[in-house]
């Protein structure tokens, strides 16, 4: 890379960076430190003083049946959302890639749900599966199936997974399509001339060449499932029934704002912070590698 013109001086650049640093400090570093600090104490019942408990909050959390259940719920939920949204997206992208004409129109048909907020996607799906007036619930009833996600934990999980995956498929579709179109036609045609069928070509050429895209989407979708699905869960199940859809971020919200249990909620934030830092580092390592080589 060519050497840049750089200028000396420290006050102007520091001045330029200052507002950014202030905001980052107040809304990111201070609260992160606060969460770590707070997680080491419990407030007394009157809220007048704090008592040092060391790692007591963490010990309590990890021993807490509901917290461990929430961990498992988050894992199941994230895996399902990721697999469903990526699987369907890949299938659609392969279809679109084989369309010679009109793949632009097709793209438009598929990507608009991305603009629908998770909270709104929740409303749309809740309406279809509403236990009283839902049209799908009604048809299922005609078939003899009694749908009730308000009581049935499995059905509740299924519904939030589908609603969360719905808007996400658009995003994944775009990346898969771009990945597929970047594969040189000549390679695939050569394999076809050699007599390789579609499935063989996909398995031996397309899938391996697509793996960087797949890996990137894997990380991004897990992060999405961890945090941005809050709106879906809040509108459809509010974490129920019996906390069956209470993922970790929903529990931070429920314990911190509804339950007002600050020490525990802070410890939960710290654990989440840790998990998401690892995920992001993996993601950036990957992007860096892509940019440089």
């Amino acid at each position: 890379m060519e050497k840049r013109v750089t200028f000396k001086g420290i006050w102007l650049p520091l001045l330029l960076v200052l507002p950014q640093i202030v905001i980052t400090a107040v809304f990111f570093f201070y609260p992160a430190g606060q969460a770590i600090w707070q997680s080491l104490f419990i407030p007394d019942p009157f809220g007048l003083s704090m008592q040092w408990v060391g790692l007591g909050n963490f010990e309590y959390l990890l021993g807490d049946r509901y917290y461990r259940a929430s961990f498992v719920t988050t894992a199941i939920f994230s895996i399902l959302v990721t697999v469903v949204s990526m699987g369907v997206a890949l299938y659609l992208a392969v279809l679109a890639d084989r369309l010679i004409k009109g793949s632009g129109t097709y793209r438009t048909l598929l990507i608009w749900p991305y603009a629908v907020a998770p909270a709104v996607a929740g409303v749309l799906w809740l309406f279809m599966f509403n236990t009283r007036v839902g049209v799908v619930t009604w048809y299922l009833g005609q078939l003899g199936y009694d749908w009730n996600h308000v009581l049935n934990e499995g059905e509740a999980m299924g519904l939030v997974v589908v609603a969360s995956a719905w808007g996400r498929i658009s995003y994944n579709f775009l990346f898969f399509l771009a990945g597929l179109q970047a594969i040189p036609r000549s390679v695939i045609e050569a394999a076809a001339i050699d007599g390789a069928h579609f499935w063989t070509r996909f398995r031996t050429i397309v899938w391996p060449l697509l793996s960087p895209t797949t890996f990137f989407l894997l990380v991004v979708n897990i992060i999405y499932a961890f945090f941005e699905t809050f709106g879906v869960i809040h509108t459809i199940t509010s974490g129920g029934p019996q906390q069956a859809t209470t993922i970790l971020v929903y529990k931070v919200y429920a314990d911190g704002f509804v339950g007002q249990d600050l020490g525990s909620s802070a410890a939960q934030s710290v654990i989440l912070l840790f998990v998401v830092s690892i995920l992001t580092v993996i993601q950036f390592k990957y992007i860096e590698r892509r940019v440089h080589y």
């Binding site: 001086g9 420290i10 369309l99 709104v120 895209t213 911190g256 998401v276």
Partner: protein
Amino acid sequence: MTRDLNRILIGTLALVLAGLWGLPFAYSVWTAFHPEIYAANFKWNAPITFGNFVEAWNSAPFALYFVNTLILITIVLVANFVLCTLVAYAFVRYRFRWAGFLFGLVMVQLLISPEILIVENYRTLSQIGLTDTIIGIALPYLTSAFGIFLLRQTFLTVPKSLDEAAQIEGAGAWRVLWTVYVPLARPIYLAYGLVMISFHWNNFLWPLIITNSPEVRPVTVGLSVFATVESGIEWSLVNAATLMTTAPLIIAFIIFQRQFVANFMRAGIK
């Protein structure tokens, strides 16, 4: 012959799937434009009505919600453009002490999802008395490490000769920024601005907890409050409201498709 048939089959399958895809939304549109009794009665000649929209519009302060969202987006957009530009410019054009350290500090923000820190940030805002205000919703989002990263990458591609030429003409640091760097990054501003708009139009968790009166609620939170009212609000109204609040963004998204897509790709895979 079989190839053609194959192609037609694939095309049909693709269309059917895309249709299936749109079903939840299509159903919402159907209910919104028809009287309540046709909600599950799909007759082609069912009368079309706009009454649901009028009634929904009148039963919750949606006009206010829209204004709030517009104010919020304006604040966030202006602040991000200004602050991210300044920071990116400083890191690209100047070599100063602690530059590496400060850049690292800025980028660490990418690790910290604001959703994790809602409880702590809520406390900070209540200490400075800014809960339940639009500026309170905007504050944690006034700058973004992602925006800085994007602009920095763009500024790095500005040819050194242009910068020097501007200086020979007698332009100072501000003029160089304004006349050389910013115009060259225009597509990035457009793409980043679009992403910011869609993010804040749809953002939910933080605005939900930081606001509790309709006067400051953005439109997505307003809709969710409207839709979860237990007092037997009609679903046709909910659907009309859903359409009103999402249609502007969907239309913008379709119009600016290319910019959105370009931006996704830039953020992810280069």
